[in-house]
């Protein structure tokens, strides 16, 4: 059989180049990803690390000096930063906890059959689709002391109005309320998909053995849902620690810094006060906090639970 020799080039590409690409397919296909990751992740991270060891100020000190780890240490002498760390975890734990409880309850509800389920489920998911700044503006109106719908509602049932975002003690709970309203649908979505993917045999076996609904939930549903719960908690915890836009729009870290989180503190240092070096060091601390949260949650997921 006569073999036709391939042309020396196809569409003008030299044959040798085509052969080289064939041999190094893995490398070639990864180049765009490597360039992308280097440009958008590795390079900025290196820049932040470098900046964090300088005393760079945007306008007043454009030619910074190297200060080593001074900014890393001085962050922990700043009472606002220490408070901000506490506020961040307070918000993340309470907000994500609330989202989980409500998310699980609504997921269990939507896992049952009832009339109009599709409609109610769509309505329930709507906050998740709304933009943070837009919903913040609406919540500012809801929280208004004199004319907000929340205090009008309390007035109807005879309860004194609450200084929602005005009182330092109420400001963080107010933001947690917004966080729960905004993000619970996401939790519902993940948990509902988990519930719908569970095998039915263990549930039937439990029912035959005479287990109550609560026992089935605690000893069958929760263990089987472990992977989904872990994913939902990891994702929401990371987003919870990073929450920024609603805080900035609704309370702007106030009153009296009662809602200043790590994110906001870094923002104020960098863009209001222009201490870029200090802000970068705090940014690195922030990264380690997020990493720690992830590691803890991943360990919880890997752990072999006994029920």
């Amino acid at each position: 059989m006569a073999i036709t020799k391939a042309p020396s080039s196809q569409h003008g590409i030299p044959r040798r180049l085509v052969d080289w690409i064939d041999r190094h397919m893995t490398v070639v296909f990864n180049i765009p990803t490597v360039v992308f990751l280097f440009g958008l992740v590795a390079f900025p991270v290196m820049l932040v690390l470098l900046t964090s060891m300088t005393d760079w100020q945007l306008i007043l000190k454009p030619d910074p000096d190297f200060v080593g780890f001074k900014n890393y240490l001085s962050a922990w002498q700043d009472p606002r930063w220490i408070n901000a760390v506490g506020h961040t975890f307070y918000y993340a734990i309470v907000s994500v906890g609330g989202q989980f409880v409500l998310g699980m309850a609504t997921a269990l509800l939507f896992n049952r059959s009832f009339a109009g389920k599709a409609f109610y489920r769509s309505v329930w998911m709507m906050p998740m689709l709304s933009m943070s700044v837009a919903i913040s503006l609406v919540w500012i109106l809801f929280f208004d002391y004199a004319y907000g719908i929340l205090n009008l509602g309390l007035d109807v049932i005879g309860i004194d109005p609450v200084e929602w975002t005005i009182d330092p003690n109420w400001a963080m709970p107010s933001l947690i309320l917004v966080g729960i309203w905004h993000h619970t649908p996401f939790m519902t979505l993940i948990l509902l998909s988990g519930l719908q993917s569970l095998p039915q045999d263990p549930f039937e076996a439990a029912r035959i053995d005479g287990a109550s609904r609560w026992q089935i939930f605690m000893h069958v549903t929760l263990p089987l849902m472990r992977a989904h719960i872990a994913v939902a908690l990891i994702l929401r915890s990371i987003f919870g620690v990073k929450e920024f836009d609603t805080f900035l729009a609704i309370t702007d870290a106030g009153p009296m810094w009662a809602t200043e989180t790590m994110n906001l503190n870094i923002y104020f240092n960098a863009f209001e006060y222009q201490y870029m070096g200090e802000a970068a060091a705090k940014g690195v601390w922030f990264f380690f906090f997020i990493l720690a949260v992830q590691l803890v949650l991943l360990q919880l997921r890997k752990r072999k639970w006994s029920y």
């Binding site: 200084e163 975002t165 330092p168 106030g254």
Partner: protein, 480 residues
């Protein structure tokens, strides 16, 4: 001799005439086809004056102005980043010298305008700078010793007291000229018509939110005899917000907000407070005088025609109108500096500024106020704005390089003053803030020759001036 004198007068007149018509020598079309990038604050004057004038400017000069208009906080960050990056695409910027003027001047980011001012091919001969500029405006131009003319102060918006004429007349309340009368009026005009314990109208409305309060509080601080800073005997600049007079002012202002303002004021930004006032919910509103445009607009306000503006009442320390002026400048890194100057010179000409003045944008040119065609929105507005521009001083923020942190520190004291009100608690907060501010001055201003806009630059208000805006609206006989 008489003939010689006559000849001399004639020659002088001709010479002046030549100089006077030298504006015709400025070839306004010399940079035809250029495009300038300008970064401006969001404010009522943008749509009222800057945008329409930019169209006219383009028609007359062939220079297009692309305006980037953002909220003040955002545009400041944008400008700072562009200037720090020596971005040549930024040509013209709007700024407040009492805010970032010191920083930008110290860093050398603003172009020295002196050569442009003296260049007859770029500046009309009748430009008359600074001769035609009001004293309060010129006081804010320089904040660092030896600073060149690196900005043109164009607007003199002042923090004044908006009052409801109809309510003062209806309840026959004396329009306040001192702090005691102000509190008495606030008390009388906090009105609970249906007796449900929730006032329908509050006596006093002003900023109550953290760092923003420094602007509305400044006149109360200085009128009480307090100040943001003082200079010690050895010439050291230290914070003065914990002095007896300053704490008196914090206590007074905090009490006004706590007792006579709606709770919303504690979280409101100026636009929300202005909307509350325009909705008829307050008898007095401490805010920049340009907000009169909103309360007097029948399409947007329930109190159109019922409000006027007066000076902040005098206190034990005197009367210091707070004049946070606005400047325009050229970026040092612009590649179109001459065209940018042509834009500034064109916009700040007498007849162009007069148009802004007639659009209720208080201008810095003296001639705009005295022009026979100028008509103030109300007689009181015109009188108070003119006196503020003449006697005012830019005290809206603590005069410092680290302005953001200074405002936050003062805002924390105000939060205590409003929420707590206990004298000892205010004093403790003020002591803590003062210590922080003094340390920050030492850290950021050493060797910089930063002077800020000090009250000593201002001239003391003449007796009787306080009463003039009130009398201008015929409200001086009330409460007797």
């Amino acid at each position: 001799m008489g003939r010689k004198l006559h000849s001399l007068v004639l020659a002088t007149t001709v010479a002046v005439g030549i100089t006077g018509t030298a504006s015709a020598d400025v070839n306004w079309r010399q940079f035809e086809g250029s495009t300038l990038n300008a970064a401006f604050f969001t404010a009522n004057y943008i749509d009222a004056w800057w945008r329409p004038m930019a169209k006219q400017f383009q028609k007359e000069t062939g220079i297009k102005v692309k305006m980037l208009v953002l909220q003040a906080g955002q545009i400041r960050k944008k400008q700072d980043i562009m200037l720090a990056g020596k971005d040549s695409t930024l040509d013209v910027l709007m700024l407040q010298m009492d805010n970032r003027g010191g920083k930008l001047t110290a860093a050398g980011h603003l172009e020295d305008l002196t050569p442009y001012l003296s260049d007859a091919s770029l500046t009309p001969a009748d430009y008359d700078y600074p001769g035609d500029w009001l004293g309060g405006c010129i006081n804010t131009e320089r904040v660092i010793k030896g600073q060149s003319h690196n900005n043109i102060v164009w607007s003199a918006q002042a923090q004044l007291l908006h009052i409801r004429k109809d309510l003062f007349k209806k309840y026959n309340v004396k329009v306040p000229t001192n702090m005691a009368e102000l509190e008495a009026a606030a008390k009388k005009l906090t009105i609970d018509e249906d007796g449900d314990g929730k006032p329908e109208i509050y006596g006093f409305l002003s900023r109550g939110w953290g760092r923003l309060t420094t602007a509305s509080f400044a006149s109360y601080l200085f009128n009480h005899g307090g100040s943001w800073f003082k200079t010690t005997a050895d010439g050291t600049k230290v914070s003065n917000i914990n002095s007896k007079e300053s704490v008196d002012a914090f206590e007074f202002y905090g009490r006004l907000i706590r007792e006579y303002a709606p709770k919303s004021a504690l979280s409101n930004k100026p636009p929300q407070n202005a909307a509350l006032y325009a909705a008829g919910k307050a008898a007095m509103h401490q805010e920049l005088n340009f907000w009169h445009g909103l309360s007097d607009n029948p399409k947007k306000s329930r109190i159109a025609g019922k409000s006027t503006v007066i000076l902040v009442p005098e206190g034990p320390g005197g009367s210091f109108p707070n004049l946070p002026t606005t400047s325009i400048a050229i970026s040092k890194y612009s590649e179109k500096k001459k065209a940018a100057w042509l834009y500034i010179a064109w916009m700040t000409q007498k007849h162009i500024m007069l148009k802004g003045q007639n659009a209720a944008v208080p201008m810095c040119r003296r001639s705009a106020w005295s022009d026979p065609t100028y008509k103030a929105p109300t007689p009181g507005w015109g009188s108070s704005a003119k006196h503020a521009a003449d006697y005012g001083i830019a005290i809206a923020k603590p005069q410092a390089i680290a302005i953001g942190q200074m405002r936050d520190a003062a805002g924390e004291v105000m939060n205590i003053a409003i929420r707590n009100g206990d004298r000892a608690a205010i004093q403790a907060a003020a002591d803590k803030a003062a210590e922080f501010m003094t340390a920050l001055v030492a850290k950021t201003e050493t060797g910089m020759d930063f002077i800020g806009v000090m009250p000593s630059l201002g001239k003391r208000m003449k007796p009787g001036v306080q009463q003039e805006p009130i009398a201008a609206d015929g409200l001086d006989k009330l409460g007797q």
